[in-house]
Symmetry: C2
Subunit: 189 residues, 2 copies
DNA sequence: ATCCCTTTGTACCGATCAGTACAAGTCAAT
DNA sequence: ATTGACTTGTACTGATCGGTACAAAGGGAT
């Protein structure tokens, strides 16, 4: 038998792709096995609690990514405008201009969200909070910053839905472009 | 045996609720049967092509609702501001301030969307087009109207995701409120 | 009351589901 | 080279999946 000495973490990209594509309930072990190249044995070896643990691992991997690429830069930067611009760039790339869905957002819509409800809420709360912090650092009032941050995160999610539904990356880019200029205008004043 | 002389249309609310809650692949015939009160026999009597036909029926029912309550008023009204305000009111009620998801948007995110891709795209395209038309009637330029309409539809979808994820109807209402004043401001000028 | 067509419940089909069990295989350390 | 812990494929379980078949049970028209 082949023993490529793999780790559970190696399966994360395939796992994430499968959950994104088919959802939690639609992602069967057969599909997961195909996407990760791991048999059931390995899957249950790395994730003894089954699909739920696999999804949890994917979610915490996503959290790690956002923490590094989005949240920390937004919080720690001395240049809020640059951090906000960076956020839009990273997001556009990450979501492939809307062709790649937001797993957290999609999971939140489904009935299988319950075990992950806290993670999902935390993801959005943290995103809104850090964006709000960056905007206030750019001399916006707390109320304005909070309001526009909430609207922006919603807009990003909606842009993904729209561009997937219309099969048009332009829709994502146009909507995100609007938010970009609006936020940058608001903090450069 | 009970013969309550029911029609296929009577099953639509239960069908829609089940698809909304569990998605297309997650909505098993057992769940559907429970939600509609119809046995498999009746279900396949009314929808011989199975789940796909049930979903198609739900989608066309949704289309009918939007046509009546949103699209026609937006297109035919002599008072664009009133029609836009009406749209936000109806939408807030329909989506229960974000606690009820948009079945069309959610379906567009899943892998089972292929058979319905055209319907999904048409739904969003029509919504954007009619809103654009109403805004141009309110003396906005075609470019501005089209841009803000696209952004608004995306924002509505995002507001649903956000308020579901945070389990907070306030998020939906705040975001939708912002769009409402922005659109009404834009056409009253 | 009889007829016919529609509706309904139930039993059943093969396929697939998530998850378990475990033997066979493979590496790192010794 | 042997050990021992880890990894992997395969076979299996009971449950459930979507869908089919069909007989029993209704209702409307006559």
């Amino acid at each position: 038998m082949s023993r490529t000495i793999s780790e559970g973490a190696d399966a994360l990209p395939g796992l994430a792709e499968t959950f994104r594509e088919y959802g939690f309930s639609g992602a069967s072990l057969t599909l997961i096995s195909k996407a990760t190249g791991l048999g059931k044995g390995s899957l249950y070896n790395f994730f003894p609690a089954g699909k739920k643990e696999m999804m949890a691992a994917v979610l915490s991997d996503i959290d790690r990514w956002f923490e590094q690429k989005i949240f920390v830069p937004l919080e720690r930067t001395a240049d809020p405008a640059a951090a906000v611009a960076n956020m839009f760039d990273e997001i556009t790339q990450y979501f492939r201009s809307g062709q790649r869905i937001c797993l957290v957002g999609a999971l939140g819509m489904s009935a299988s969200r319950e075990p992950f409800a806290e993670s999902i809420a935390a993801y959005f709360a943290r995103w809104i909070a850090t964006l709000t912090a960056a905007l206030t650092k750019g001399n916006m009032s707390k109320a304005d910053a909070s309001s526009i941050a909430e609207e922006t995160i919603a807009g990003i999610q909606g842009a993904i839905i729209l561009s997937r539904a219309l099969d048009d990356t332009g829709a994502f880019e146009r909507v995100i472009g609007q938010y970009r200029v609006r936020l940058l205008d608001a903090i450069s004043s």
